[in-house]
């Protein structure tokens, strides 16, 4: 089967997420004055005459505002908006409802394109009142979610995700259903809900068409990151290591491939090295930057747990060697995680040994039974008090 170029099925890149990523990079101390990124952003701003966005940029990044450029863009914006307003009026007077809706949609999209958030939101609301068909209403909601993701406005995203879900439940088609899954997955990932994000991404790997959000290799990268932290080993093997689409893309992403396979094949030294590289990559990614510390800590815990699982006791030296670090580092790490209750083991520093004390399954079940039985009894007592009144 020839590869289908699904890019044509993707929606238009409006708002353009590349801009958001570039803006994010410029806000990091390392890239603050990187000239190429600045050039890229300015080029895009000029090409689309994004006057309000330009003002916003200059304020937040404390650049000097080029007034001439700003005025030129504002003029173009005003002219275009006037044209759109005229066509809306004309449609209201002479043409039918459908044309009115179309022109209102065009105006909303234009406002979104030039980066005027408030005006675009209000225009979208007006258009929503005019739209009746389920498909078009869903498209509008998707547009709003995209804007929310562009400005990272959690309130906006949440509200529209709920709305989209209820609309889809009324009867959305598969294409839009999958698209919603991708959007929801991105949002979950950005709020650290990796488990749900992993599930949603893995569902949509085969049918990805949302090229307006990101390109396919980036999507697979996010999928691998979320699955590694969220999935258990057997599931990870089934869905990711043996997943044919993921394997295909991993051929062109050697770093991510090594990251995944080093954990799966227990090459812990390499895994740590790859983790350091991945951490670097995450720091400069708009969605994952707030979570990179959490992610690296969790991945370290997963690696330690995996190693400790097959041992009742092992030497500190062996562990340090396996991970390619010094004994002091391992000692410090283990001490921290054991004290936090994340690892089930004890360090015997005199003998230089780490002993695991995994709770025996029967014991744990006994404890759990007692605890839950207690809670249940309390609630039955409360219930009996209520009923006896």
């Amino acid at each position: 089967m020839p590869i289908e170029n699904l890019e044509e099925q993707g929606l238009e890149k409006n708002p353009d997420f590349d801009l958001a990523q570039w803006r994010f990079l410029l806000e990091t101390p390392k890239n603050k004055n990187a000239p190429e990124i600045k050039k890229n952003i300015l080029r895009a701003v000029e090409a689309n005459n994004m006057a309000p966005y330009y003002e916003d940029l200059c304020k937040s990044l404390s650049w000097k505002c080029d007034d001439k450029l700003l005025k030129k863009m504002k003029d173009v914006n005003a002219a275009e908006l006037k044209k759109l307003d005229d066509s809306i009026e004309d449609a209201e007077k002479n043409l039918g409802e459908t044309e009115v809706r179309e022109f209102m949609l065009k105006k909303a999209e234009y406002l979104c394109k030039i980066g005027d958030k408030e005006a675009a939101l209000s225009q979208f609301r007006k258009t929503q009142e005019k739209t009746v068909t389920l498909g078009y209403r869903l498209d509008l909601v998707f547009h709003l979610i995209r804007m929310g993701l562009f400005y990272m406005d959690h309130d906006l995203i949440n509200r529209n995700l709920e709305k989209a879900q209820s609309l889809i439940d009324e009867g959305g088609d598969w294409d839009r259903r999958n698209r919603l899954k991708v959007y929801r997955g991105i949002y979950c990932m950005s709020i650290r809900d990796f488990k749900q994000a992993a599930g949603l991404f893995l569902d949509t790997v085969a049918t990805f068409t949302s090229y307006e959000l990101m390109d396919y290799p980036t999507f697979v990268t996010y999928t691998v990151f979320c699955s590694m932290i969220a999935l258990e080993r057997p599931e990870l093997r089934e869905k990711v290591v043996k997943g044919s689409e993921i394997l295909e893309v991993l051929h062109s992403l050697p770093k991510i491939r090594n990251f995944l396979f080093s954990l799966y094949d227990c090459h812990y030294g390499e895994f740590f090295r790859m983790l350091a590289q991945v951490e670097d990559q995450m720091k400069y990614d708009r969605f994952l930057a707030p979570h990179y510390r959490y992610y690296t800590r969790e991945m370290r815990i997963i690696a330690y747990t995996q190693l400790l699982e097959s041992y009742r006791s092992l030497a500190l030296d062996y562990m340090a060697q396996a991970f390619g670090v010094t004994v002091e580092f391992i000692d410090q790490e283990l001490a921290r995680f054991i004290a936090a209750g994340r690892l089930h083991c004890k360090i015997d520093k005199v003998g230089g040994i780490v002993e695991t004390n995994r709770p025996d399954s029967k014991n744990w079940q006994y404890q759990a039974t007692i605890k839950q039985g207690d809670i249940l009894l309390n609630r039955i007592q409360k219930l009996s008090r209520v009923i006896n009144i």
């Binding site: 020839p2 590869i3 041992y311 092992l314 079940q365 839950q372 249940l376 209520v386």
Partner: protein, 344 residues
């Protein structure tokens, strides 16, 4: 001055000769591209399509898979419109090979099936037919581990190549023997090798497979490793054979380890490694991986350097059931609570 048709024929012949030499000078891709541009200018469509097919094969050899796939999809669309079945089969076979190299087996199988269907509609030259059979064998052996079917496909491919005296026949024979080894019927290898057809192909490839068969028959890992070292060019450098032999080695190692550990409930890792004649840290790593994959029930104690094997405990369902019951009771209590609230 030469006429256009003759010029096209010359170009085609020259490019074919150059590429068949497989000299690996690195200039092949550029040469192909130049000739394709020329063919486009001169509007020699058939020449261009044939050249593009060869370019795809070149991209596959240089591991430039993305370009290969793009070119293949556009070429396939054109060929389907023109209904040029012969070239279509070749390009579909190439596509299957590319997907196989990208480890995307479902798509590789799909491409191969479409290639076979197209080939059924035309007279397929023996070389192409043998290539199709070879690819089917490779795919069947890959993930499905269906070595019986793979063996029969390789046999067909072998006969096909043999009838036109193509050097690829040796490769087909090698894969046939590989299938027999993976089926654990290594003794049949000897029978095939001394058969009439195979005798004229005896050489390093066949020798390599024979010694692998012997090592697997004796279940000796040391011999296996030795063979891999001696016959590196025939075994490790061929990606398909390499992948299967790795799996075979892993299986052999695991089986041996399980057999050795069976009589013990507590054994020193050093002792195990002596019995299996492999270095200790390798044995320990392998054991820890097997425990992780739940291939046997046990645990390693590195402090004392021992492996402890657990008995298979019957899982006691009582606790699980009691926990489930408590949870359900909780739900009942919730429901009653809400009903009681409504009444008051």
């Amino acid at each position: 001055m030469v006429s256009k048709a003759k010029a096209a024929k010359l170009v085609r012949g020259l490019v074919d000769l150059f590429l068949d030499m497989e000299a690996g000078t690195g200039k092949e891709v550029e040469l192909c591209k130049e000739c394709i541009e020329w063919a486009k200018d001169e509007k020699r469509t058939f020449l261009r399509q044939a050249l593009e097919a060869r370019l795809i094969a070149l991209y596959h050899d240089t591991k430039d898979y993305q370009d290969a796939l793009l070119l293949a999809s556009s070429l396939l669309r054109e060929l389907k419109q023109l209904d040029d079945k012969a070239l279509l089969v070749e390009v579909q076979l190439l596509e299957s090979r590319i997907y196989h190299s990208l480890s995307n087996l479902p798509k590789a199988r799909a491409a191969l099936t479409s290639g076979r269907t197209t080939a059924n509609g035309i007279y397929c030259p023996p070389k192409l037919q043998a290539a199709l059979d070879m690819q089917s064998g490779i795919l069947h052996a890959a993930d499905e581990r269906d070595f019986k079917t793979a063996y029969s496909y390789f046999y067909e491919a072998f006969e096909g190549y043999d009838s036109i005296d193509n050097p690829k026949a040796v490769v087909a024979l090698k894969y046939m023997l590989l299938c027999k080894i993976m089926l654990n019927t290594a003794d049949e290898v000897q029978a095939i090798v001394s058969g009439k057809l195979a005798l004229k192909y005896s050489g390093p490839e066949v020798e390599a497979m024979k010694s692998i068969a012997q090592a697997s028959h004796k279940r000796s890992l040391a011999e296996f490793q030795k063979t891999l070292g001696t016959f590196k060019a025939q075994l490790s450098d061929d990606p398909i054979v390499n992948a299967h032999l790795k799996t075979l080695y892993d299986n052999l190692l695991e089986q041996n380890l399980c057999r050795i550990i069976e009589p013990f409930s507590r054994v020193q890792v050093q002792h195990v490694s002596n019995l299996i004649k492999l270095p200790m840290d390798q044995v320990e790593k392998k054991l820890s991986q097997m425990i992780l994959d739940k291939k046997f029930h046990g645990i390693l104690d590195q402090g004392a350097g021992v492996l402890i094997v657990f008995e298979e405990t019957a899982v006691d369902k009582t606790y699980e059931n009691s926990l489930d019951t408590i949870q359900n009771m909780g739900k009942v209590v919730d429901a009653l609570y809400t009903k009681a609230k409504k009444l008051t």
